[in-house]
Symmetry: C2
Amino acid sequence: MESTKKVRGMQDILPDAHLYHTFLKKVFRHELRKNGFKRITTPVLEHKELFTGALWMGTDIIDKEMYNLVDRKGRELVLKPESTAPIMRAYIENDMQSDPQPVFLYYVEPHFRYDRPQKWRFRQFFQIGAEIIGESDPILDAQLIYIGYKILNKIGLEGEFKVKINSIGTAKDRQKYLEELTSFYENKKHLLSPEALSKLESNPLRLLDTKIEDEIILANEAPKITKFLKKESKEHYTKVKEYLDILWVPYEEDHKLVRGLDYYTHTVWEFVDNSGRSQDAFWGWGRYDMLSKKIGHSDEIPAVWFAMWMERLADALLDRGIKIKNKDRIDLYFIQLWDEAKKIVLPLTLEAREAGINTLASLGTPSLKAQMKKANRLSARYVVMVGVMEATSGIYQVRDMIAGTQEEVKKEHLIEYVRSKVGQNGLDFYCPAKDFLLKDE
Amino acid sequence: MESTKKVRGMQDILPDAHLYHTFLKKVFRHELRKNGFKRITTPVLEHKELFTGALWMGTDIIDKEMYNLVDRKGRELVLKPESTAPIMRAYIENDMQSDPQPVFLYYVEPHFRYDRPQKWRFRQFFQIGAEIIGESDPILDAQLIYIGYKILNKIGLEGEFKVKINSIGTAKDRQKYLEELTSFYENKKHLLSPEALSKLESNPLRLLDTKIEDEIILANEAPKITKFLKKESKEHYTKVKEYLDILWVPYEEDHKLVRGLDYYTHTVWEFVDNSGRSQDAFWGWGRYDMLSKKIGHSDEIPAVWFAMWMERLADALLDRGIKIKNKDRIDLYFIQLWDEAKKIVLPLTLEAREAGINTLASLGTPSLKAQMKKANRLSARYVVMVGVMEATSGIYQVRDMIAGTQEEVKKEHLIEYVRSKVGQNGLDFYCPAKDFLLKDE
């Protein structure tokens, strides 16, 4: 029956995978917050028109991959395939131009593309994105690259990637360049795949980011965009590189690094897997000063962004055997050998949790063996058994599941005993409610 | 132009509102984690069939409020209106029945309903939910109520709500009861609104949760379901109440508290606003042992859940003037009065952040006045001005924006100076990457 199956190409993120997602979210959120970014959430649904501006037509996202729907009032809506256009829409609609510029925003959002399902590519996928809107200073491009570079190093991928950068200038810079590029490829049509030939018609820039070996060789010989940059664009690019030097970010210039969408300008970059495991980028992106006009705003609003693929990065950590601490572990587990035991155990579990011990009580299975098996599967550290005898005597058996030893402990000393065994570092006293609530003075 | 407007009934969650969302997520996540719950994410899209099981037909959710779409392969999909059915689907599909039972899961998910937009009700809304699946012990019902009760007290709503509980027994218990209830109302048809008359046809239980005053009086007189509970159901309910007593949770029994969906069984509850501000529940829910069969699984899988409405609870805090600490504050702000100043300031901002100081640098505006205004709008605590003179002399002006005072500080002492001013408690040294990454020994 279809109803008990998930939709093809989509995934449930189960607790083990969530360890990695939670870790990545924490690291990104913290780094971005320290750098002045604030969280925004835009709806999953947007007007189709937001994405079908002139520029998007002819790209796979619009033509083949968008999830469309019509609501009960006939509105044409889509499940957002990405968040840059929605964030720019939100910036304009919520009049963030009146805030101090630039505005630093970040998001953690699901995106939807009807793509061919494959390794780490799902039809619903999560991205953490950072956008700096309202200012064109090249220092911002360098800062975003720096933040990404630092994060990759921090999460255990040091030495596993390189930073590639390029400038694709402005639309004006590209006019002359695209002519040269097209004529370069016109003479080599016999060497091109059918896919490349179609790019030559629709979007010659995309010929450069091919993954076919022969075409890479061709692309290396192709005219370089940086030679066609006008004064201002050249200056922008030079400054980005100067700032990267000041920030000690090593980079490699690659003229084959381009973007398929017309609204991109100046700096583009990617963090490319350098381990030989794949040719994929961990993530990247660039400056998009021309998007605001494409989605119908009167003015050009400068902006720069990055977005990382959560599933891609989680996968990269897993592939390398990088392990994340599981803070969901159970330190104390109560086995209840008798229905009335619950009334004794229930207040004890509360007391234990108040004392900072992560605690769980077994339920539903009467046999000791079955409950011990549960405790084992949950990797519980200490197990306490409560049956009729224990309830009467007030003396409990505490089992150390790692050492395999067992001790008798009086009920009134039980929590203190486990507390000292778990040790200060294992206790959890964090209380977000207390930490965040402001009390009137 | 439509493309620069959000979809009607949906909202952007902007940084100020995110303060409340982030706070609530942190509190729930932490409480749930301590109680053994683990995070799960299910896709936004599910097969329509998952929600249109026999039981859901005739409810507003299915008939009027669902966002439907057909994908490129003709699959009938919906944007999930809630997560209980998806979580049960995930439990079955991912064979969580082989894990130690019960399974404790929580989620933070957007849901979608084409509803009439009104205060705190949006067509995309977030819920934090907790589900305990695979075990029918009444202690679990009590535990979920307890966790919710504690959370509401912790987030500043102590004394602002009461806990209402009821038992609606099993489908069998309800058979006889529904007959009695129907015949009670059949004699009072002349007192009923058209809406109530239609409920009498389709779902007489729903007559009890009316908000019309005259109908509330009637409902108070109506037969009580608890009188129709068979032995096992009565026992379950009695135990829930016993455990609530042990847990010191004060509750009120209300026989008018019911659920419109057939798969609910035994305990239902709500945390009801008791402040006189509204009649709404903060949140609630109950046991749903019969859902698994409704969505096509061969066996009954016992389960109990709660789900809170993020927007509702954020609103309740705002309405009461409860304030949340803003950890995004800027402690150090650099004003740059000269383009070359950026090259001096950039490494300083990095150094400051390494020293735990939340730091931002102004950009793009050459005038001192405009930059001071920015610093003010951002509530920056300390402001440092860097111009040609400062760069040459190496002596900077540091302005305390609260005291309104200004001091001269040498460049090499600058970070240490601000550090000591901000004070240990204001510094941010937390590093999730270090905290979570497990290094090989």
